[in-house]
């Protein structure tokens, strides 16, 4: 810390280095950190945006995928369902055809038997068939249960997609296949007639319709044209049973007064009917009559009433209300089997006339306008004219419950046309139609039975149709759809979660990186500061050493050498310094040597001259006149001056070279000053100067080389005497100040001009050349004195003019300005204490 404070308090190398290092490293570092942080932040933001976008893309892809998958799945599953339903439709049609062909066989068999009541009875009793007995009450329906036993395969290799359905354990009963069998002679008289009650005695002539079933049969008129072995098959004949549909809140229910309608109306009257087979009987080549077999229509109903085009597959009771059921149309498009019995075309029991089919209100209005009978009007209606479900059923027909379905004229049910058209070539198929507010799949298949009148078209006996509620029929697809939707929702959720997590991770990382960057920055700056301090110390320390060395050299310690450690420029500088120091020391040594030798060599000739001159002056060379004596005296004075010069030079060179050793010893000021006064008094007297010593009793003890201080005092006093006019006054004064004692030598001479006051201590400086000549000064005395005092750690200075007021005795005036020389020497601390 101290170093730092020092570094900033003055513009040292350290502070400069510190500032430039910090500036050079910290500024780019800060810029770098700022940029890195900004980039990081931008990257983070961008990454977040990308992730978000990716999420959105993902989600929209998922959404698309969802739609596509659902659509595809629904389509695929629908296709499968459709196919399954179509297959069942065709199977059903084939089964019905096979059943009908069996009846052909029955007829042929019966025709080979000679008619007898006994044989006909036994034939009748041999032809029974089981039918499902529908429940008679709602409760009974509810008790229907499926087996709760789960059946699995004993072999685990069969466990994949293992499916098992329990058997349909419906209550069944056996009933006669035929309502009656009979033998009719060529005139139409019944000769034998067997019913479930046995042989009937109520034999009639059936050539009259009134004597036929439901008064509606006209088969006798067709028999005559039959060739031998040719079979006649009638249409379905039965009494129409009325029914009423009630519609409330879009839901259709069946009025209880209606005919039987499966689950919708258990108690209603059932449609009962027959289909009659007839075949000629030939005996010995001669036709004797016809045998007829009236198939109980119930057996036809069995085929359609218990089939369900859904997973349920079979039911013991039909339910048109659910919309999933099968029904049957004959070759002329009349409804001959339907869960709702009132839809089956039939005859009026009283009149034997066919009940006309249900038509639309629109068409009914036409009928009303036509003035025709309804049967007549409907019979004359063109087939499949303007069929559309925009039409509503005729209310008059609805009111009286006469709503049998005749596909050709049911012009508010466009699907009729579809079935009809689809079975034109005896084929099968399906389509979807919106019916009664429900989308329904409907399939159709022609019943390939081509006997008698049914051989007229490829449609054969007629056609089977299936209706399936799309919801039910879509069930598999919908289940899959729900599953996919759920999975995709979960996927969406997990994507959103991942996005959120990724976002927060990025933010965390961003913060982490920022902190790391900050830490690196701080560490770097600290390292830079540390490095700059170390480096600057590496530079400044040797420089300080150099400075110290130079200062020591200045003090004369010429043997000073810098300890060179580094090999860099500083090291070179130190080496150069050392070399310079060596050179300087050598030069100094040479100078001292020179001065010593020179002074010695000078003394020898001076000695020679002095010997001669003094000899002459002493009269050892004979008598000399006054003029010669006077001249030789001048020579003698100049020799003295020359000697002083030589001595002073030698002295100065020794002092400058620090070759003199101060002999420090404690001494009182009074003793030192008195010694000087004593030695100068002769000179003072010569020049008529008065000396006033104020320090005669000064007992302060100083630590000095007494001889040297005395030398200085003599020099100063001598100057005051020699450079000033004779008869002057000199005061020696002084006082102690803390650690030093100041000695003042004050004269009342000419004084020293301002410009010269500092120069007087320079070598060979003489303010007044003339005066110097006159007094024979060397110009070295003050220089030597200054060196001596400074060597003691003291100081010497000169002030002129002398302060008048302090020294009134000196009588200072304009001419006699006076001068004060002040020298300070250290007080001996031990003695001072």
């Amino acid at each position: 810390m101290k170093a730092l404070r020092e570094a900033f308090s003055r513009p040292s190398i350290l502070s400069k280095l510190l500032v430039s290092f910090v500036a050079l490293s910290a500024v780019p570092l800060i810029v770098l950190a700022y940029l890195a942080n900004r980039n990081l932040h931008e990257t983070g933001v961008e990454a977040l945006l990308n992730i978000e976008e990716m999420g959105h893309i993902n989600l929209s892809l998922i959404e698309q995928l969802r739609k596509k998958v659902i659509q595809d799945t629904v389509e695929a599953l629908d296709a499968r369902s459709t196919e399954a339903i179509e297959v069942r439709t065709v199977d059903l049609a084939n089964a019905i055809a096979a059943f009908l062909y069996e009846r052909d066989n029955d007829a042929r068999t019966l025709s080979t038997i000679l008619p007898s009541e006994k044989d006909y009875l036994s034939f009748f009793q041999c032809h029974y068939r089981t039918v499902i007995e529908p429940p008679s009450t709602i409760e009974e329906i509810r008790t229907e249960k499926k087996s709760s036993t789960i059946v699995v395969s004993g072999n685990p290799e069969n466990s994949q997609s293992w499916r098992n359905l329990p058997p349909y354990d419906f209550k069944k009963k056996s009933i006669p296949i035929y309502r009656e069998i009979s033998f009719v002679d060529l005139e139409g008289n019944e000769k034998i007639k067997i019913t479930s009650h046995g042989a009937s005695k109520d034999l009639r002539n059936i050539s009259s319709k009134r004597n036929t079933y439901c008064q509606a049969e006209d088969y006798f008129q067709h028999l005559g044209s039959l060739s031998d072995n040719e079979i006649y098959v009638s249409r379905v004949i039965g009494e129409h049973v009325p029914g009423w549909l009630q519609v409330s809140d879009g839901k259709v229910t069946v009025d209880p007064a209606s005919a039987y309608a499966g689950k919708e109306n258990l108690a209603g009257k059932k449609f009962e009917g027959i289909i009659r087979w007839a075949i000629p009987i030939v005996e010995r080549g001669k036709r004797i009559g016809y045998c007829t077999l009236a198939l109980d229509h119930e057996h036809i109903m069995q085929f359609t009433d218990h089939l369900v085009p859904t997973e349920e597959r079979f039911s013991n009771i039909s339910d048109a209300g659910e919309g999933n059921y099968a029904w049957l149309w004959d070759s002329e498009d009349r409804c001959i089997s339907h869960p709702r019995d009132f839809f089956i075309m039939g005859f009026d029991g009283n009149t034997g006339r066919e009940v006309p089919g249900w038509i639309s209100e629109t068409t009914y209005s036409e009928y009303l306008a036509s003035g025709k009978f309804l049967e007549e009007f409907v019979r004359e209606l063109p087939n499949f004219r303007e069929f559309t479900q925009n039409k509503k059923g005729a209310k008059d027909q609805t009111r009286i419950g006469r709503i049998a379905l005749d596909c050709k004229t049911l012009d508010m049910a466009p699907q009729c046309q579809g079935w009809h058209d689809g079975t034109d070539d005896g084929g099968s198929g399906s389509f979807v139609i919106l019916w009664s507010g429900l989308w329904k799949l409907t399939s159709y298949a022609a019943v390939p039975y081509f006997t008698g009148q049914y051989s007229k078209t490829k449609r054969g006996f007629g056609y089977v149709t299936f209706g399936a509620n799309v919801d039910d029929f879509h069930k598999a697809a919908n289940d899959t759809k729900l599953y996919i939707q759920k999975t995709l929702e979960e996927q969406k959720d997990s994507i959103e979660k991942v996005n959120l997590k990724t976002g927060s991770t990025i933010r965390e990382r961003e913060a982490d990186n920022r902190n790391l960057l900050l830490a690196i920055g701080l560490v770097s700056i600290m390292a830079v500061v540390g490095a700059s301090i170390i480096i600057s110390y590496g530079i400044t320390k040797p420089i300080k050493n150099l400075t110290a060395g130079a200062l020591a050299m200045r003090r004369g310690e010429l043997n000073q050498r810098i300890n060179v450690q580094s090999r860099d420029e500083i090291g070179e500088l130190a080496t150069s310094f050392n070399e310079m120091a060596s050179t300087v020391a050598e030069l100094d040594h040479m100078k001292s040597e020179f001065v010593t030798i020179a002074s010695h060599e000078l003394r020898t000739p001076i000695h020679s001259i002095l010997l001669s001159v003094t000899g002459i002056l002493g009269g050892y060379s004979g008598e000399i006149n006054d003029e010669v004596r006077e001249d030789l005296e001048t020579v003698r004075l100049e020799i003295d001056r020359l000697m002083r010069l030589v001595n002073d030079l030698l002295d100065l060179s020794r002092i400058e070279a620090r070759k003199i050793q101060l002999q420090m010893a404690p001494a009182t000021i009074s003793a030192i000053v008195s010694q000087a006064v004593e030695r100068i008094s002769e000179l003072a007297t010569t020049h008529n100067h008065s000396l006033e010593n104020s320090l005669e009793a000064e007992k302060t003890v100083v630590n000095v080389d007494v001889d040297r201080i005395v030398q200085v005092l003599i020099n100063l006093l001598g100057n005051s005497i020699k450079y000033n006019p004779d008869g002057g006054k000199i005061i020696i004064d002084g006082s102690a100040h803390e650690n030093v004692f100041s000695i003042l030598i004050i004269d009342n001479g000419y004084g020293i001009p301002d410009w010269a006051q500092k120069k007087v201590f320079d070598k060979f400086f003489q303010a007044d050349t003339y005066m110097s000549q006159k007094v024979g000064g060397t110009g070295l005395g003050l220089s030597i004195s200054k060196h001596i005092i400074e060597e003691h750690g003291g100081s010497i200075q000169c002030v002129s003019p002398a302060p008048k007021n302090n020294y009134p005795d000196l009588l200072l005036n304009f001419e006699r300005k006076g001068a004060v020389f002040t020298l300070t020497v250290p007080i001996n601390q031990k003695s001072a204490g």
């Binding site: 002074s599 010695h600 003394r603 020898t604 001076i606 000695h607 020679s608 001259i609 002095l610 010997l611 001669s612 001159v613 003094t614 000899g615 002056l617 002493g618 050892y620 060379s621 020799i639 000697m643 001595n647 030698l650």
Partner: protein, 122 residues
């Protein structure tokens, strides 16, 4: 003690010849030597009454010469005045250590030298 014979030892011919002339003129028997060895030879052979001895000499310096004179039984009482251009304290001390009787520094006037020589006559 009466001084009759003076040995002047100096390598500067001007100085030795001047002293020789002036002292001879005053009635002294003067021997001159310009190097240390000669000075020793003359001292031991002629036995001068006083020796004026320069310090800086060829072959053997003044201190050595003085030491030899003072260490010889015959000559040890012979006064030796050393004259030297060397004025430092240690040089004077060296001279006194060598046993000289008087140490004078150059330059010095002839009357002064004569006065110092005569001071040994009393």
């Amino acid at each position: 003690m009466k001084i009759n014979k003076i040995l002047v030892v100096d390598d500067e011919d001007n100085i030795s010849s001047y002293l020789s002339r002036k002292l001879s003129k005053l009635g002294y028997e003067v021997f001159v030597a310009s190097d240390g060895e000669t000075a020793i030879d003359i001292t031991f052979s002629r036995l001068p009454d006083i020796v004026l001895l320069d310090v800086k000499l060829p072959k053997m310096n003044g201190y050595e010469v003085c030491r030899k004179i003072k260490s010889n039984e015959t000559t040890r009482l012979t006064p030796v005045i050393m004259l030297s251009a060397k004025t430092q304290g240690n040089e004077i001390q060296q001279g006194l250590d060598a046993g000289c009787d008087l140490y004078l520094t150059k330059p010095i006037g002839f009357p002064d030298i004569l006065q110092h020589v005569r001071s040994f006559e009393e």
